[in-house]
């Protein structure tokens, strides 16, 4: 995906979220660090343009809820920032850059359950690359990118990497 592709996809996803939710009532958008947070902020900016007011936005760190901690060296813990109205009875939209095995999202839902009881939880991702290991699906997808499991999907965002891009590398392709 080029930089323009990314912008267009995010714009479309923001509109889809508002359409399905019938407005921005009770929406809370939470990004999963690292890049999910920047994406969440961008979505919320588009929504503000459309709706004319702010949608609560924050971050939810999932490090402590991962199921693969013991397979890797210690990961630094990122920040969890739940915006003021909290998540009870809200529709939480989780935002991440790539949906792959689904384990990250599983961890995010566990983390969420300790912070309150949302009315509903939706998932928005920039890229769905397939190869799910858990019964998890995204509600809003920027782009479906079928990949082989040996390939790597790299997401670059201006906030972190200077420019926007999604590229697939490696593998037997």
């Amino acid at each position: 995906m080029s930089s323009d592709d990314v912008s267009r996809a995010l714009r479309r996803v923001a509109h889809e979220i508002l359409e399905r939710n019938k407005g921005s009532q009770d929406l809370v958008v939470l990004g999963i660090p690292t890049r999910g947070v920047a994406l969440a902020r961008r979505l919320v900016r588009v929504m503000a343009e459309v709706e004319g007011h702010e949608v609560p936005c924050g971050a939810i760190d999932i490090t402590m809820h991962r199921d693969d901690l013991r397979r890797h060296p210690i990961r630094p813990v990122e920040h969890t920032d739940i915006p003021a109205p909290g998540i009870n009875a809200k529709t939480v939209v989780l935002v991440d850059d790539v949906l792959f095995s689904g384990r990250t999202v599983r961890a995010a839902m566990d983390a969420l359950s300790e912070l309150g009881r949302p009315q509903a939880v939706r998932l928005a991702v920039l890229v769905d690359r397939g190869h799910r290991e858990l019964p998890i699906r995204a509600d809003y997808v920027g782009k479906n990118l079928p990949t082989s499991s040996s390939e790597r999907v790299q997401v670059r965002l201006a906030e972190h990497d200077g420019h926007d891009e999604v590229r697939i590398s490696g593998g037997d392709r």
Binding site: L69, R71, P73, I74, P76, D110, E114
Partner: protein
Amino acid sequence: MKRHLLSMNDLDRQDILAILDTAESMHDVQRREVKKLPTLRGRTVVNMFFEDSTRTRSSFEIAGKWLSADVINISGKGSSTSKGESLRDTVRVVTAMGVDGLVIRHGASGAAHQVAQWVDVVVINAGDGLHEHPTQALLDAYTMRQRLGDLEGRQVAIVGDLTHSRVLRSNLICLKTLGAHVTVVAPPTLMPAGIATWAKSEGFDTSYDLDAVLPTVDAVMMLRVQRERMSGGFFPTTREYTVGYGLTRERLNALQEHTVICHPGPMNRGLEIAADAADAAQSLILDQVSAGVAVRMSVLYHLFAGEGTVA
């Protein structure tokens, strides 16, 4: 990060900052309704306390439980020496039950180091005699950092019974690693032997004059003085000690406005620290206690959660 946490020498600057950063997130968890994280589920940690310490022990216990670890408390008092069982046998019997880690508090300097030689599990030093108390130094650094920001270049005074203080030894190393400069203040009888050469090689200063040092520092850490030290001839009376080395109300007023006051507790109000000073806005004493659990959760996370952290 090294396998055990026996001494502040086991942590480099990066390690300390990682622990303090994670502790901030852990501090947030403490403020939630559901204070539990699943991270150390399935791990068993034993608090082996050969020396009483309700505060440190419960701090480690809460920290472990909030990470979903199973925490067992074993009092080592009266077990080994009185029944003829060696310390080595005592700890090996406990670890033979298949636990993942030992948090050891012992009245003998070096006990944690020795235990780490004898067992296969992760060992955390919760205070060994007069030697070190690494998690205390970490929570002191955390608390000071929250108020003062980056500790690089900061001036810190540590005042009191230096000879008998493990908090001193751990803080000297920790603050040096973080780039702070330390001046220790005590009467000559409460300074450890060889401190002149020690100060020279580690880059800290020594002083007998508290009044000269206090106005120059960003943080002052008051160490507890035991009244029993009078009978060892270390100082003549508590009154004289307070006049020379106590953080009195007058000295509180001589501090710069931003200077913070720390004390590892428990305090002897009126002896080494005036009640006014303990309760002043500049005092971090209660923050230190609250930070204890967050910092210990962070230490447990770093030592037990990752790959290769457990045999």
